[in-house]
Symmetry: C2
């Protein structure tokens, strides 16, 4: 995805997941795809933004209607034991922050005239 | 920076800036460095995380002690006319979201034994 998520008017919730990767590639891409896919099917899911720079720092922000939607999503993920098991393999460090989005504003460059 | 920001116990605030770039490079790196430098000198600044992926989506999250600290920072930035002027040059799209971090948890991989 290459554009900011289209989210409704605040308030809503953001889960900010910041991480540095180990050099273990095995299973990582499949897990990341599965997480994105499961998340987007979850009730209350509003959008996802993800970026990883050349220095290895990655930031993934998912947006949710409510805290309840986040709790349900977390429960769903926890049921897949693979994720917890794999974290220490794929990540050397991570922080998850749950935050309530209180206001938002943006800009979209107008398309040039044809 | 290649590691998640070291932030205190919540609550604190996050400003999530998600953007897609135009192909205009002129002045961009200098502005980005200036913004990071000014921000980190601002009272109430707690940390910064930034990543831009190969698809062009960039995410920068700055962390702040209070809404007042964010308001002061924004005022400081607004005084530099260059920023507002340059936004439509450097960015094809962006969204800024201000959020209150309510809880956080993390993981750091233990260093291997020597």
């Amino acid at each position: 995805m290459s554009a900011p998520a289209r989210t409704p008017e605040p308030p809503y919730y953001a889960v900010i997941f910041t991480s540095t990767r180990t050099d273990v590639e095995e299973g990582y891409a499949a897990m990341a795809d599965l997480m994105a896919s499961l998340g987007s099917q979850q009730p209350g899911f509003l959008g996802l933004e993800t970026a990883r720079g050349e220095d290895g720092l990655g930031i993934t922000v998912s947006y949710w209607e409510s805290e309840e939607a986040i709790a349900n999503w977390k429960r769903n993920v926890d049921h897949r034991g693979a994720q917890a098991k794999g974290r220490s393999t794929w990540y050397s460090e991570f922080v998850t922050r749950v935050a309530k989005v209180e206001r938002a504003y943006g800009f979209v460059k107008p398309a040039p005239h044809a």
